[in-house]
């Protein structure tokens, strides 16, 4: 629970006066209506394709406004730099950068942070040089770190009002229809750009693959896109998607993956027609591999898969082991190709995927989700945002959303990384609350959240090394020695928002 003194300090910051502290995963009950956007009217034959400079004039971008970007091009993205460079040249300053996430490649924006073009940040994750800038307290006010579902919620409720959304478009026709499955910079699902396209005052497509003919596959429709600008390249394909699936070969990770699969198979959530989410990391894919074998043995199929997609998920979809897939993001070329060609592979928006304030996000369908963690504590709170020294490293992403939605949330994590224990009394930064986390699987044993005696009961007699979380922590401490607590800075450099918009923790200065 957030310290009341910290909340009071947050509430003194202009724009953050009404922020509330997290008080439970489903405690906030929304009221009112979703936000609106300006009414548009375009005469037939109106041209949309212009130079970026002309578009910036046309949309009336001014000091103090909010611009947005999606992160579907991941570490290959070239659009943010291209756009912010052009904005800086026009002398516009004091902007809020709203990105669905920021990768290392965005370090190139640092000069625009230092010169005051960008003074506020609203994102899921940040790292490297921009992370350092944020933690040096150099922004005009603390950055906001949102979950994928939480960002969609903030956009739809009007809490995050975007003046101009710049959408990196791997393929775009001259009418404004966009997809991510074609073009030389294909990235797959554009799920994280969809709320921006739907709610921003102005939407600008930035494409390196402009078509004169209307697109067949449309992710973001022309009805939402005001302008289009053409560039040589929106990104580096090698940073956008990997060519092949990475399945873990690390024996210790395989131990964890095997245990995770055995845990799942022992519970009621492993059944014919189940619905699940596996991450796309090596360990999650290895877990999915073991689950696949168990499904084949039992002749089970999954009625749906949800979440980010890799080649392994596609393999299961093609084998008929997953009947249909709801996909907000793709990670490799196989997944991108599948989205464009397989009618059972559906592109969904970040809001549809995880927004807690709509009629039913897809995460609510999950029987189980297998997620990773940077750190976990004895209360099952999870950190996926900062490292052991409090430095920005990752992103909440969909972690808190999937954990809240799934009937069973399993965290797979090594008990130690290097010489540091990852199971602690208190995590460095709380991102996902322990009340939504059910099982921790490590290479040294498995701990079930005491809130879930039903799961503990189903693991009895299964030859699994089930221990209490305290026993596991004692093991970590015995192996690594107790950590000397690091001195904590009082400087609030970031607010960690839970998916409902309440503040669950802060990112401190370094």
């Amino acid at each position: 629970m957030l310290d009341t003194k910290i909340l009071a300090e947050i509430n003194k910051i202009p724009g953050y006066e009404h922020k509330k502290a997290f008080s439970g995963a489903f405690a906030t009950k929304p009221t009112g209506y979703t936000a609106a956007k300006p009414i548009k009217c375009v005469k037939p034959g109106t041209k949309k394709v212009y130079s970026l400079n002309d578009i910036l004039d046309a949309v009336g971008l001014k000091d103090g406004m909010t611009i947005s970007f999606h992160h579907c091009l991941r570490n290959g993205d070239a659009v943010m730099k291209y756009v912010v460079d052009a904005i800086a040249k026009k002398g516009i300053k004091d902007l809020t950068l709203s990105a669905s996430s920021l990768s290392k490649v965005q370090d190139c924006l640092l000069p625009h942070f230092e010169s005051g073009v960008i003074t506020r940040v609203d994102t899921s994750g940040s790292r490297s040089e921009l992370g350092r800038f944020i933690q040096e307290g150099k922004l005009a006010k603390p950055a906001i770190f949102r979950t994928h579902g939480g960002r969609a919620r903030a956009i739809e409720t009007g809490e995050l009002h975007i003046n101009v959304a710049f959408i990196a478009a791997p393929r775009c026709d001259k009418y404004g229809n966009i997809n991510g499955v074609e073009g030389k910079s294909a990235c797959g699902s554009l799920g994280y750009a969809m709320p921006d396209a739907e709610y921003a005052d102005y939407v600008v497509a930035v494409t390196d693959s402009l078509s004169d003919l209307p697109l067949d596959y449309v992710s973001i429709p022309q009805t939402q896109v005001d302008y289009i600008t053409e560039v040589d390249s929106i990104g580096d394909p090698s940073g956008i998607a990997t060519g092949s699936i990475r399945v873990s070969k690390n024996p210790a990770e395989l131990v964890i993956s095997k245990y995770a699969a055995d845990v799942i198979a022992a519970t009621e959530y492993f059944h014919d027609q189940m619905i699940f989410q596996f991450g796309t990391g090596g360990m999650a894919i290895a877990t999915a591999g073991y689950i696949r074998e168990k499904m084949l043995a039992k002749k089970y199929v999954a009625s749906a898969g949800v979440g980010g997609v890799s080649g392994f998920h596609v393999q299961m979809l093609n084998e008929g082991l997953i009947k249909t897939f709801y996909d907000p993001q793709d990670f490799d070329l196989t997944a991108i190709k599948s989205l464009g060609t397989n009618p059972k592979h559906h592109e969904i928006s970040a809001s549809a995927y995880a927004n807690p304030f709509n009629a039913n996000p897809y995460v609510n369908l999950l029987d189980f989700a297998v997620l990773s963690a940077t750190e976990i504590d004895v209360n099952f709170n999870v950190n996926v945002l900062t490292d052991s020294y409090g430095k920005l490293l990752g992103a909440p992403g969909g972690h808190p959303d999937a954990a809240a939605g799934a009937k069973m949330t399993i965290i797979t994590m090594p008990l130690l990384r290097g010489r540091l224990p990852m199971l602690l009394d208190n995590v460095t930064t709380i991102v996902t609350p322990g009340e939504t986390v059910d099982v921790l699987v490590t290479e040294y044993g498995i701990a079930v959240n005491p809130r879930r005696p039903d799961i503990a009961e189903s693991l009895k007699g299964k030859a699994l090394p089930v221990k209490s979380i305290e026993e596991l922590k004692a093991k970590a401490d015995a192996l690594a020695g107790k950590r000397t607590p690091l001195p904590k800075s009082d400087k609030i450099c970031g607010l960690v928002e839970y998916r409902d918009g309440t503040i669950i923790d802060i990112v401190r200065g370094i």
Binding site: P251, A252, V255, E443, Y444, G461
Partner: protein
């Protein structure tokens, strides 16, 4: 921790991360190796590392230490440093004669007395790696009360015998048979040899199955991926477990009644069948089957 030794996994004694992770692969026993896995330049460092590690942490499985052979300059320091740590056993390479084993026993007794731990706490596993060792297998196995098992060190044995190596180990069949026989005759564990090509899963499983046929109850392994493969070979089937339970139930009933002749489904039950049934249930328990 189960009561069986199905797998003994060698872990290099000079790799800190491997020592801390040794227990996680489910081997019934890990052996921290000071011998072949450690170069001569690192012998003292490995000894110090294992000593420091076991002084602060005890893995959640049985722990043995493979010390260097008696004809090396590291042997005495190894034994002196390791015995006070109270490992389950020391594994001695190049065990050739009863004298080798008696010398080790006497030296370990001294070390135990000096460390103030009960004499006989630390057991011995003998690795037989020479023609002379195979010839003397029974004498080696019975030379000390500390000895709990004997096994074949196949690579050195092949070298000593000037054998040509085959993938399925035909050339070491006689030695395996001889060691299994000597171990059973002496009432100690027969430990099957290391199958070093850990990437050949099929060949490994066939080898473990063949070893089981020969009477081996334990396999020495060098890679974590080999552990579950060995256990799966030793896991009894549901049918075997059911039969074992019936045998023991009938036997218990007969004991209660004081009945002399015991039968199940028209077949007589004798003591070896009862012993085997008990072993089956132990393996089943270790594999996580509900008994």
């Amino acid at each position: 921790m189960n009561s069986l030794y199905r797998t003994m996994m060698f872990v290099p004694g000079n790799a800190p991360a491997k020592l801390t992770k040794a227990e996680i692969y489910g081997a019934d026993c890990v052996i921290f190796d000071l011998e072949d896995a450690v170069s001569v330049k690192e012998k003292d460092a490995a000894r110090d590392l294992v000593r420091t590690f076991l002084s602060t942490y005890r893995p959640d499985c049985r722990v043995g230490i493979r010390v260097n052979a008696q004809d090396t300059p590291y042997y005495e320091e190894d034994v002196k440093a390791m015995v006070p740590l109270k490992p389950d056993f020391l594994r001695l390479p190049k065990s050739e004669t009863a004298k080798n084993m008696r010398d080790l026993d006497t030296f370990m007794t001294k070390c135990e007395e000096k460390a103030g731990i009960p004499v006989g706490t630390v057991k011995i596993v003998a690795t037989i790696e020479t023609a002379l060792g195979v010839q003397n297998a029974f004498e080696v196995a019975t030379a000390s009360k500390r000895i709990i098992g004997i096994g074949l060190g196949a690579e050195d044995f092949r070298t000593d015998m000037r054998m040509t190596r085959s993938e399925d180990g035909q050339e070491i069949l006689y030695a395996r048979n001889r060691i299994s026989l000597a171990a059973h005759a002496a009432g100690v564990m027969p430990l099957d040899y290391v199958y070093s090509n850990f990437k050949n899963t099929e060949g490994f499983i066939a080898d473990v199955k063949f070893g089981k046929m020969l009477g081996f109850t334990c396999k020495s392994v060098i890679h974590p991926s080999q552990v579950p493969l060995v256990h799966s070979v030793y896991d009894p089937t549901d049918k075997e477990v059911e039969h074992a339970k019936q045998v023991l139930a009938v036997y218990d009933e007969a004991m209660k009644k004081g009945s002399g002749v015991i039968a199940l489904n028209g077949k007589m039950i004798d003591m070896p069948m009862v012993t085997r049934a008990k072993a089956v249930l132990e393996y089943a328990k270790a594999s996580g089957k509900e008994i």
